[in-house]
Amino acid sequence: MSPQIPGQITYDIPQQEIMSSGHLACPGCGASLCMRIALKIFGPRTVLCVPACCWAVIDGPFPYSAAGVPVVHCAFETAAITATGVRHGLDIRGIKDCTVVAWAGDGGTFDIGFGALSATVERNENIAYVCYDNEAYMNTGIQRSSATPIGAWTSTTPGEHPKEEPKKNLVEIMAAHRIPYVATATVAFMDDLTRKLKRIRDMEGTRLLHIFSPCPPGHKSLESDSIKISRLAVETKVFPLYEIENGLKYTLNHKPKGIPVQEYTRLQGRFKHLTEEDLKQMQQRVDYEWDVLDKRISLFA
């Protein structure tokens, strides 16, 4: 984050609100905030394709909608291909000035919609894909997904048996597809987020933005801590901010401070069962993953 001087903090974000108030996200929901900002950047000429996930509910029940742009509700596994279909349909009708966005949760992206996503990227379809990652199936009651971090509590990985498997590395999988653009982001780093949103709005080909998204009920955190947790995810190296172009050109967007992981986990009840030893191992894992990323970045800068 750039140094901020009183009265001189400048956000390059349009004032106009596209998403309306009254939506059904829980208080402090990261997913609703990143949609609000994304729509300001994407503008009114946007089509959202939303599969089953919190956002399918947040938008509101028929006959109402909060998004302020057309939303195509689609089946859980179909965000990427529904967006592909909408894009082709608009293209056939000669409508070029619309951004088509698949907007899905981690379950719909890492797990059930994964095959469709892979096929879409393989064909380099001209869509933007945003995965807001709250690291579990929140909408249906906090079940684990392959995006849930190791050690976390969920309703299917209770405290006595927290999740044993590490989080799947979606960004690397996308890079392996040689996707034109894939990046990570959080709402705590607004300038970085808005720049990346502009990038995925303006590019051609498949581009994917992976946004870390705090969920107060699912992470058992304070509603007011959502931005703080997002910031700590980055500064502890748990969720580094970086981008990869064409699967090969790596750029680190923010040098993390390397704050101890415990500062991040202690704000979230989903990690409260972790022992000192568990936390030590978590720190080692984070450091190891960071090392790997760091090497990749210096190798493929």
Partner: protein, 567 residues
């Protein structure tokens, strides 16, 4: 799509392809809320710390934007002496600065000094707050308290006459504080600005001598007395009657007026306050060898901490825990030596400081041919009539500077024990507001509110824990540059030069505007519920129809300008 409720009365109202017909803003999420954020500007530590009640946060913010004239005028609102106070005020505004934790407290006084200096050549037209009135007040004493009161009354349209015993105005700013800390043309300019408001100044007019106190009471609708502390306490040692035992304030006054003065060679200065230090540093600059003796330790020294450092840097020795017992003179009455005794600190006394007690048998002699006494000053209130309640240390007043007589008010050093220029300026202003209320037959405004520039803020002082430090980068506090020691001890040139514009901007950019909203947009940007809007005329509004009370805006406000209450 519209904001209204959609009425579906039959299946015919349902579109063929399922599509929304209305916005979710029909759903008022206010009912979800169990806590409620609200904008509440709070007081910054600097604002609460300034004895003149200056809106420090505001002028710092203006200076950040390069609005130096506006910043200057902000200070002038409460204090007509920015360039003076920027130099001599011990800056209590900096004591609780929250920047302490991010590179050091802000160097506020140097910014104040800059704002005073940078506008030096501007001939500012006096601004009057109220219409001219036919009532007048008399002010006794042209020190900072009297002049501050005169200034505030003149701005409010009253006729003001200031009676001053000496040949020049300024009080201790003129005849106490030496040129190397406060060049006199700076003071003169700031006093001239006060006089520009139509204040009449009668110099060489000592009340009780040239005119009586009854006379001025009869002439004016109210009187403000602020005559300072101009009587020096006796040394209290044998030989104190010798000719070359001289009060420090007399030495300083003579130097200030360039009067003839005969100084010794080796001078013993007794005391630990500003007078002692300034007397020692002044005679050093006149080629003498001063040496300070002080009966307590450095921690107890009442002088301004920075002045003590400067004095030590200039090579003046201090004997702490030392008391003069006897001044020895020769047959011609000339001082030859001073016998001193070492002290140790015992139980705390009334002032809370540990009482120094003599160590028996520790007596020793110090060579000296002159002794300057600076062990405290007292007011000379002999001019007052006996119906004004006063003690030997000063006139008795309440928080508004009101005495027992309705038309007589008092302030500054001769009524309070505060002892700084800025306190005197603050008293002068507060009492002016009380005199104004008295002359209008009204109750004076709330003491606390006029003491600090509250301006719609709450009196709650923003603490470090309430700052969100991620929004501020650590940056070092800048210090002013001083003259080289060998050069500075030879003359009365000002020791410290002011900040350059670049240095000022470095310092102002460190200010976090604690408790004060400079419209950084964080609340607007981070609300997940689009419940914050920016007002066209400044500030923000929370839409309570939708706010869910998550508190993100409160958590992300860098400087605690938003509060939250649990419902």
């Amino acid at each position: 799509m519209n904001d209204e409720k959609v009425n579906i009365k039959s299946y015919r109202d349902i579109p063929i392809a399922a599509a929304s017909l209305g916005k979710m803003s029909v759903n008022k999420t206010a009912s979800w809320r169990n806590a409620e954020p609200y904008y509440e500007e709070k007081s910054a530590p600097c604002n609460l710390g300034c004895p003149a009640g200056t809106d420090v946060v505001k002028y710092l913010h203006l200076a950040t934007q390069g609005k130096y004239e506006e910043g200057w005028k902000t200070i002038l609102n409460t204090n007509p002496f920015p360039a003076t106070c920027g130099r001599v005020c011990p800056h209590p505004c900096e004591v609780n600065c929250n920047r302490e934790n991010l590179g050091g407290r802000l160097n506020i006084h140097m910014i104040e000094r800059f704002l005073g200096d940078v506008n030096f050549d501007k001939k500012l037209e006096p601004e009057f707050l109220e219409d001219k009135k036919d009532k007048s007040i008399g002010v006794v004493g042209a020190g900072p308290a009297g002049l501050s009161c005169a200034y505030q009354m003149a701005r409010r349209g009253y006729g003001v006459t200031v009676y001053e015993a000496l040949s020049e105005p300024g009080g201790m700013m003129r005849v106490g504080i030496p040129d190397y800390r406060l060049p006199k043309e700076i003071l003169t300019r700031e006093i001239d600005f006060i006089l520009d408001h139509g204040v009449k100044l009668k110099l060489n007019t000592r009340i009780g001598k040239e005119i009586t106190f009854e006379d001025i009471r009869a002439e004016h609708d109210a009187v403000y007395v602020a005559t300072g502390l101009h009587l020096s306490r006796n040394l209290g040692a044998e030989g104190q009657e010798l000719e070359d035992v001289i009060p420090g304030i007399e030495v300083l006054r003579k130097i200030a007026f360039k009067d003839e003065i005969s100084l010794g060679d080796e001078i013993l200065v007794v005391g630990g306050g500003n007078t002692a230090l300034d007397a020692a540093r002044s005679v050093l600059r006149m080629g003498c060898k001063p040496r300070i003796v002080y009966r307590r330790s450095r921690e107890e020294m009442p002088a301004i901490a920075e002045e003590i450092e400067d004095l030590i840097e200039e090579g003046i020795p201090i004997d702490f825990l030392t008391l003069p017992k006897r001044v020895y003179g020769n047959d011609n009455g000339k001082i030859v030596k001073v016998e001193c005794v070492r002290m140790e600190l015992g139980e705390p006394d009334d002032s809370g400081r540990r009482r120094p007690v003599e160590i028996e048998g520790s007596n020793f002699n110090v060579e000296a041919d002159m002794v300057i006494t600076a062990i405290g000053e007292q007011p000379d209130l002999s001019y007052l009539t006996s119906d004004v309640k006063a003690e030997s240390w000063g006139v008795l007043v309440d928080g508004y500077g009101r005495t027992n007589l309705p038309d007589v008010f008092a302030g500054g050093d001769s009524a309070t024990g505060d002892g700084t220029v800025t306190h005197a300026v603050g008293h002068g202003r507060q009492t002016a507001l009380a005199i104004d209320a008295f002359l209008k037959g009204e109750d004076p405004p709330d003491c606390e509110v006029i003491e600090h520039s509250v301006e719609g803020r709450s009196m709650h002082q923003v603490e470090w824990e309430e700052i969100n430090p991620v929004y501020f980068e650590p940056a070092e506090r800048l210090k002013p540059k001083g003259l080289e020691i060998p050069h500075r001890v030879k003359n009365f040139e000002e020791v410290y030069s002011g900040f350059t514009e670049e240095e000022v901007l470095h310092e102002t950019s460190r200010c976090m505007s604690c408790g004060n909203c400079p419209e950084c947009d964080n609340c607007l940007v981070f609300c997940p519920d689009s419940a914050v809007t920016k007002n066209p005329d400044g500030g923000y509004t929370i839409n309570y129809e939708f706010c869910k009370g998550c508190g993100i805006c409160v958590a992300e406000c860098p400087r605690s300008a938003i509060s939250i209450k649990v419902l």
